[in-house]
Symmetry: C2
Subunit: 200 residues, 2 copies
DNA sequence: TTATGGATTTCGTGG
DNA sequence: CCACGAAGTCCATAA
């Protein structure tokens, strides 16, 4: 529906959208979004499973503890979209692809006498992407990223390494990605971790 | 445009969307998105500043190193939205609101003989939300979150505290938010930080 | 249902 | 233009 309307949101936060002409999209899964004339993200939205109620010229979408109230002032156009597809996209070059590449070519990247290599290796502070365990129990933990490495990513690796170290293991830490900036690189080295260039 | 089409994406990653009926939204800022019949997020998209080129029944949207290729098989409907508004929403209960509340009521939350309190206090590993500096140079760093505290949030605070500590200061760390889980709480205390209940 | 982390995250701000 | 961090992030997955 393309309409002149205003929108109130009340839930985790609260927001108001002034009266204007917006595109309101309501889908079969209950999700609803109010799109304005620029940017990708909707101004307001409600996720799958929301329920829509109509009271005169007011639309109310509820979901858990969140409420979206759309006051319609003038309907410009209503369009129904028959047989709207719900196919998913197939995507490549994700982080998972990089993890698999490193997993299959482990010995090309990391030296050691390995007993096993695991993905999603659990630590007390969350799972690390890859872990290689040597016969002498030396742990090699690798955190993989598909994009540029940030300081936060190094921090995340540090968390996992600390967790396993606190569990009494000898640990080496690695961050692997196609790119890293000099700031993150410096932080990486200051914590004693190694950077692995890993691309698609 | 509501059309039967398929979509190819090539850029940071690459994806294919099988032929189906999708809603294609092209906005005045150049952004474009392909919406399917469920979920809030578009299946494919291109941000502001993209350029759209038409070659027969193929649409090509380019932006930096990214290309979206939409092959139109059958146009079901084309709709123009005149006077589409670009108003922004006004939102409350953001992290900024919480930071301001703590800034204005600092003494109600943190004990000490403070010389100054600053927001966005710079450290060598990024800016921390709030920093109070006592007359004896003791630094109190506070990271604020609007939602539930995660282990990552504690890790972020740890990064800032470490940075200032490495600069030779005496530092206390605090995480402030309306909510915290027991796992994050335990990690917080294990690092010697304090949790501040701070809500709207 | 909650928690944890990825994402073509998007978006805003500041350097 | 990059770099960094918030977001009502959304979203999938595992516990």
């Amino acid at each position: 529906m393309y309409a002149q309307c205003d929108v109130l949101y009340e839930g985790r936060a609260a927001s108001t959208l002034e009266t204007g002409n917006y595109l309101i999209i309501h889908k079969g899964d209950g999700s609803i979004q109010i799109q304005a004339g620029d940017k990708t993200m909707p101004r307001n939205y409600q996720g799958s499973g929301a329920t829509l109620e109509r009271r005169e010229h007011i639309l109310i979408s509820r979901r858990k503890s969140e409420t979206l109230t759309i006051t319609i002032h003038k309907i410009h156009q209503i369009v129904y979209l028959p047989n709207w597809s719900v196919a998913e996209i197939t995507i490549v070059r994700t982080e998972k692809d990089l993890v698999n590449k490193l997993f299959k070519n482990w010995i090309d990247y990391i030296d050691g006498d390995f007993e096993m290599v695991k993905t999603e290796f659990p630590t007390s502070l969350g799972p690390v992407d890859l872990a290689g365990i040597e016969v002498d129990d030396h742990h090699h933990l690798v955190e993989v990223k598909r994009g540029n490495i940030s300081i936060q990513n190094i921090s995340q690796l540090n968390r996992y390494v600390s967790a396993v170290r606190d569990a009494g293991k000898v640990v080496s830490g690695y961050i692997a990605s196609p790119k890293i900036g000099c700031r993150a690189r410096a932080y990486c080295e200051s914590l004693g971790f190694r950077y692995l260039l890993l691309d698609f």
